[in-house]
């Protein structure tokens, strides 16, 4: 494993499978009698959030706390950042406070990369979403969820047919998923109106389509992305209604998908926009499971980046048993 997790391009298939296997093991352990593991006792994890994201922040916080790390939450709102402090100065301040790992969410693409490589700090950097670039732990939890449902919870995702639908242009979730899923052997198709696909997307390791209906019968996992209503102001699509008619997942569209297929969404969902309520509430939607898997996947990332190994977990269990 590398020292940082900045994007899914950093991960080999072996790395990714190690994280998923570790997450699985941690999931099993945390349902046992010892819900809180002592692994990262005395280590400090800083959640450095320059963007509002309660969901991702509490997921990382829960993950770090279940591994007994000390957690410092640093939200840009109400902090010195609003007074104009630079990312560099904020980072060096946190470093001086003894952060072993910095979990960063930032509106600027590449900010975690700069944090890790500009020589400002020495600890591990975990990207919790940067601009429209990457969100690697989201991709990991998505892969975990797909593997759990469609591959018996082991190995890679060879041959799995995944469709990602929506605002690909502005989506860090889509970028990270394309990278990780193809690393794990899945076949990815991106479905969006042409305005919401980036120029250059033809070089991505994914198929491109403008029609959701064409792909429903051959999809094992369908990932719906959040589409912001405001996008129509920049002429990406004429109206929310039209977007929803052409690209929204309705119950009738879902009925054309294979029996075993699942529906994912990184949340928060826009009911009635990209996903109908009856789909979101159906048993095929695994949106809540994604949230649960997010915690154990992030536990695995923290554990592995801060020096643990999967075999180390075995020792840990033995220790717990004899303690």
């Amino acid at each position: 494993m590398t020292r940082h997790l900045l994007s899914c391009e950093d991960l080999t298939a072996e790395d990714a499978i190690l994280i998923l296997d570790t997450a699985k093991r941690l999931g099993e352990l945390s349902t046992g009698p010892m819900r809180k593991l002592p692994t990262l006792r005395g280590r400090t994890v800083v959640n450095l959030f320059f963007e509002d994201s309660t969901r991702t922040r509490i997921s990382f916080e829960a993950a770090a706390k279940r591994l007994s790390a000390d957690v410092i939450n640093f939200a840009a709102k109400g902090s010195s950042v609003e007074k104009g402090e630079s990312l560099k100065d904020t980072a060096m301040t946190l470093e001086a406070m003894g952060a072993d790992a910095v979990v960063i969410r930032h509106p600027a693409s590449g900010a975690p990369y700069r944090l890790a490589n500009a020589g400002w700090i020495g600890g591990s950097v975990i990207n919790a979403g940067d601009g429209t670039h990457a969100h690697p732990t989201q991709a990991l939890l998505d892969a975990y969820t797909m593997r759990d449902h469609l591959r018996g919870g082991t190995g890679d995702l060879q041959g799995l047919r995944v469709c990602i639908v929506g605002d690909i242009l502005h989506s860090r979730v889509a970028r990270s998923n394309v990278s990780l899923l193809t690393t794990l052997g899945a076949d990815v198709t991106l479905v969006a109106p042409p305005t919401l696909l980036p120029i250059g997307v033809e070089e991505w390791p994914a198929k491109i389509s403008y029609s959701l209906d064409d792909h429903l019968p051959e999809t094992d996992a369908l990932m719906m992305l959040r589409v912001q209503n405001e996008r129509m102001n920049s002429a990406y699509f004429p109206s929310a209604r039209e977007y929803s008619r052409r690209y929204g997942l309705t119950a009738s569209r879902m009925s054309r998908m294979p029996e075993h297929s699942i529906v994912l969404h990184p949340g928060p969902i826009n009911r009635g926009m990209e996903i109908a309520s009856e789909v979101a509430d159906s048993p095929r939607a695994v949106i809540i499971e994604q949230v649960r898997n997010g915690v154990i996947t992030r536990m695995a990332v923290l554990y592995l980046l801060l020096g643990g190994s999967e075999s180390g977990l075995g020792d840990l269990v033995d220790e717990e048993a004899t303690a």
Partner: protein
């Protein structure tokens, strides 16, 4: 006044000669090995190429307003070290150079520094706001004798204003230098729009946003028979539009920066803002087209777009960083690397694109002249065989934002002679 005897220099890479300079002009060109007059100072130049002093059409000297990034004096030191004897100071200062008062201030600061000619560029519109014409005529008539007008950093988007500027400047043979950037197509733009931007998740600056404005502007220039100069051409498509317009006889000239001749958008993968520049670094295909266009003369000039920024404007995340790169001290080396050492251009072409044509575009007297008896003594001596490693800390500029950090580049400026007086000797400020 001192007499200088330059021994054994090769004008435009030709046969070695001795060049004698006195009273600010080239007073004699003698066979090499001639005995220097007793009152003259010898400059040993065996093996060095002599070129007319370089002329930059596009320099940001930052003064007045951002003296933390550069001053006229520090910028002139960088210019002299880079082999320049004239620079054009861009108008986007604070206050903006949109009045006779400000351009005369910059002009005088240049005179005081005394290291090269500083020709202020005047703003096209008041405050670079793109709303109404600045007092272009007053700037032209001022002591600074402004001939180039540009809202650089901003595009004159309004077609009517652009038309009027192209018409109005005809009265004193001025030229409108356009920063071609369609506004709506580049909202929030961070880098060239293409495969790399799609992967990095950075908002794209599409080539068409440059090309669409150039296409419009050459048509406007043709319609009113005005003079258009296109700043920092960066795309293969722009080259084709300019080539086509020139073939029709449109009065259009164009410049390319050294960095667009050498660097490509994949460097942005480091997210290091030292590579953030406007227009952005393009693709390898664009670089090939720009080199070919400079070699065949479709692009008239190399212009540095020297854009100093203080460290805090670059030591940050990409989106927060300022756009721009240093250029004066590395321009000639980059041109040697990309154009001479590749066999695309000879030394006469280098002189043409870096001195003669830029001087003509700027309407300068006494710059960009041939190395001949009776001509003003503005020249540069270059050791073409030498190489050097770019060290930002060693630069004369007040800023450090060079994209060539730690690169080994060919060609060293050994001496720069400005109006008969060395500003640089043995590679150091004289």
């Amino acid at each position: 006044m001192t007499t200088w005897h330059i021994a054994g220099a090769q004008p435009l890479g030709g046969e070695p000669v001795d060049i004698v300079i006195s009273d600010g002009i080239i007073s004699a060109i003698l066979p090499t090995g001639s005995t220097p007059a007793t009152n003259s100072t010898l400059i040993e130049a065996r093996g060095l190429i002599a070129l007319p002093g370089l002329v930059d059409l596009h320099t940001h000297l930052r003064e007045p307003g951002r003296e933390d990034a550069e001053t006229v004096e520090s910028g002139c030191r960088a210019a002299a070290l880079g082999g320049f004897t004239a620079v054009h100071a861009m108008a986007n200062t604070d206050p903006v150079a949109d009045s006779a008062g400000v351009v005369e201030q910059v002009w005088r600061l240049g005179q005081t520094a005394g290291l090269c000619d500083v020709h202020p560029v005047g703003a096209v519109t008041v405050g670079l706001q793109g709303e109404r014409l600045a007092e272009i005529g007053a700037m032209a008539d001022s002591a600074a004798r402004v001939r180039i007008f540009s809202d650089d950093g901003h595009c004159v988007n309004d077609a009517l204003l652009m038309r009027r500027a192209l018409e109005y400047t005809k009265a004193f043979d001025g030229v409108v230098a356009q920063h071609a950037q369609e506004k709506r197509l580049t909202e929030g733009a961070q880098m060239h729009e293409g495969v790399v931007s799609s992967r990095l998740g950075l908002t794209g600056w599409p080539a068409v946003a440059e090309e669409a404005i150039i296409a419009r502007d050459v048509l406007l220039a043709e319609h009113v028979d005005g003079r258009l100069h296109v700043c920092h051409v960066s795309t293969a498509g722009s080259v084709e539009i300019i080539r086509h317009a020139k073939a029709r006889g449109v009065k259009v000239t164009a410049e390319v920066t050294p960095h667009h001749l050498m660097l490509t958008d994949d460097l942005v993968e480091t997210y290091d803002p030292v590579y953030k520049v406007n227009p952005p670094l393009r693709t390898a295909r664009d670089v090939v087209a720009l080199r070919a266009a400079l070699a065949d003369g479709t692009i008239d000039a190399v212009a540095t777009d020297h854009a100093p920024h203080p460290s805090e404007s670059k030591d940050c995340e990409w989106a927060a960083a300022s756009m721009g790169m240093l250029g004066l001290e590395t321009a000639l080396s980059v041109v040697i690397e990309t154009m001479v050492n590749t066999g695309l251009m000879g030394w006469a072409d280098v002189a043409d694109r870096m001195s003669i044509r830029p001087a003509r575009i700027g309407g300068l007297q006494g710059q960009g002249r041939p190395l001949a008896v009776g001509e003003p003594a503005n020249l540069v001596l270059v050791d073409a065989g030498a190489t050097w490693v770019v060290d930002p800390a060693a630069m004369a500029s007040r800023s450090r934002n060079t994209p060539y950090r730690a690169l080994t580049l060919p060609g060293r400026v050994v001496a720069t002679i400005f109006r008969g007086r060395p500003t640089v000797l043995e590679g150091r400020l004289a």
